[in-house]
Amino acid sequence: MACATCLTHGSDVATPGDKLLEVDHLCVTFATEAGAAKVLDGVNLTIRAGEIMGLVGESGCGKTTLANTILGILAGNARAEAGRVWFAGEDLFALPQRRMARDVRGRRITFIPQDPFGSFNPLFSVGAQTRELMKWKSPRRAPGEHQGLAGFFARYPRARRRADAEAIVQMLRSVQMPDPAATAGKLPHEFSGGQRQRLMIALALLPQPQLVIADEPTTALDVTIQAQILKLLKQLAKSRGISVLFTTHDLGTAYEICDRITVMYAGQEVESAPVADFFGRPQHPYTVRLLESLPRPGRELREIGGEIPRLIDPPSGCRFHPRCARASEICRKERPPATSLGGGHEVRCYHPVETPP
């Protein structure tokens, strides 16, 4: 099914290097009591192998929905109306549910949650929960293991269990947990927030994934702990060549860790650029206003006037037009196509800001 706003989707710039993930004009709607909410409306996103991609936007702009769609864990009332998600050459929407659960989710694509407090079962030791993960998602698991009736009774093969246990201790060492050997026996409440987030990173990296989706992993942490976690995540991802989709509403953390940044507004991506270009010469009026609203010494605070639109009856055309000073007639009618500015910098705007503020 084609959705009307997607017809203008621009051709992707041919990029060197292999694309690991490609989201192609994805539309997701949520059925609500008030009507269908178009939470994602023609989103395009490309992540290359080994790249840290920042997904930036205000709350409610669809960052988490996009992450959930990639993982295939949308809520029951949500439906992908149009679009495709390509992961390493495979169409994730066409993949059978069982293969998705067995080989992709938690194995080749893993997830780091925002809240490290609610993500462990409080009643089981960290070691037990890690072993449970590795039983099913270990990179050493043979493809046919745990299949059919035999799989129902199959135990965790001893050789693999040993190898996995060793990998777990090594991983706990790489995420710099104090005393990795003793960590496994402790319950989640015995760890601080920063340590729990380190454990979450360990759990996400243990299956040796190709892509890690980190959903605001440092929002719940203090600044000094945030700095430690960002440093750790960047270093581990870079040294292992893992791609990261890093969603955040904090432009500062995005600057710290990302290679490229994509900005979303109300369910549409508006600009995508390498990190230097993004902060150096932002083109979309929304990006510019977002950067201006950061508190900086010696400058008056500037808010973005107006409010985020309701997604049940979103504005037509470019969804930012009601709050945009540069909006003209065409902005109200049609969503701007993606314009490439070279160097992987793309913007969707009829009236881009030429000069940096």
Binding site: E58, S59, S192, G193, G194, Q195, T219, D222, V223, T224, I225, Q226, A227, Q228, L230, K231, K234, Q235, H249, D250, L251, G252, T253, Y255, E256, I257, F279, G280, R289, L290, S293, L294, P295, R296, P297, L301, R302, E303, I304, E307
Partner: protein, 321 residues
């Protein structure tokens, strides 16, 4: 400087008892341990620190939500430390406490008008007509139309609820407002509008703010002076510009080094501080920061450095500052 301070806190402590399974007290969590500072009229004092450092306990102790375990709180020269609920009533209109999201503290079954009138009914002798006039004036100040008076909180957006919540705090014309993390968890654009509103209100009502936050960039934009807290103590206090230009305490320096600096060096390459804040039930001996401090020496374990003046208006609790 000649003006007497609006709020003066001397050696304020708040200890929470730690009990074992039989209910015997086996220790104390020293959330606040000898905190002293002053707030002058019209000034914004920032309280900065990581979670668990005692900054929210401090705000709540000032607002009378927590009773102090020791020390004194002087508000406009009167000691309000251990005062009863009845005595408190004379202070409450002038010293207000504002939760993280003031919009959340509105009663969902009351109209905006009723929510705004309640503090006036409790604390003032105004007639109904005078109350209406006051409410209308405040509502205009926070940038909402008068038509909103008859609406219920759920009919307002989150930002408007926040404005009504602030209006409710301001109806009594307070002199000092304790703002507890007013912008944490907000998007930058919303944060900018909240900060702007707070500034406008400060100018319109000549308010003093005690601005509790963990975000140094917000504090820099809002505050005149900053006090940095670590594990229940103030470790450094200075005018905002001095904190950012020439901080002396190693903890303050680490906090500054942890702020992402867009366009500058990446903290993921430079940040060096390791470890996490100590357990407040068992703080380390001597200086509480020594377990993480890059400059810690043997002497730090034995002496607890007092907050001492190191420059005009600047004080730090470090032996090497």
């Amino acid at each position: 400087m000649s003006q007497p301070p609006l709020l003066e806190v001397e050696g304020l402590s708040r200890h929470f008892p730690v009990r074992n399974m039989f209910g015997w007290q086996i220790g104390a969590l020293r959330a606040l341990d000898g905190v002293s500072f002053k707030v002058r009229p019209g000034e914004t004092l920032g309280i900065v620190g990581e979670s668990g450092c005692g900054k929210s306990t401090l705000g709540k102790a000032l607002a009378g939500i927590h009773a102090a375990s020791g020390g004194r709180i002087l508000f406009e020269g009167t000691d309000i430390t251990g005062c009863s609920a009845v005595q408190r009533r004379s202070v409450a209109p002038k010293l207000q406490y504002c939760y993280q999201d003031p919009g959340n503290s509105l009663d969902p079954r009351w109209t905006v008008r009723r929510s705004l009138a309640e503090p006036l009914i409790v604390h003032s002798a105004l007639t109904a007509r005078e109350r209406d006039a006051r409410i209308a004036k405040i509502l205009e100040q926070v940038g909402l139309p008068l038509t909103h008076l008859e609406l219920y909180p759920h009919e307002l957006s989150g930002g408007q609820q926040r404005r009504v919540g602030l209006a409710r705090i301001l109806t009594l014309y307070p002199r000092l407002v304790v703002l507890d993390e007013p912008t944490s968890g907000l998007d930058v654009s919303v944060q900018a509008s909240v900060l702007k509103l707070l500034r406008e209100l400060q100018a319109a009502f000549t308010l003093s703010y005690l601005f509790i936050s963990h975000d140094l960039s917000v504090v820099r934009a809002m505050c005149d002076r900053v006090a940095v807290m670590y594990a229940g103590r103030i470790v450094e206090e200075a005018p905002t510009e001095r904190i950012f230009a020439s901080a002396k305490h190693p903890y303050t320096l680490s906090l500054l080094a942890a702020i992402p600096n867009i366009g500058g060096e990446r903290i993921t390459d430079t940040f060096a501080l390791e470890g996490e804040p100590p357990d407040p039930v068992r703080p380390p001996s001597g200086c509480r920061f020594r377990t993480r401090c890059p400059r810690a020496a043997a002497v730090c374990a034995g002496t607890d450095p007092p907050l001492r003046r190191i420059a005009p208006g600047q004080a730090a609790a470090c032996l090497f500052a």
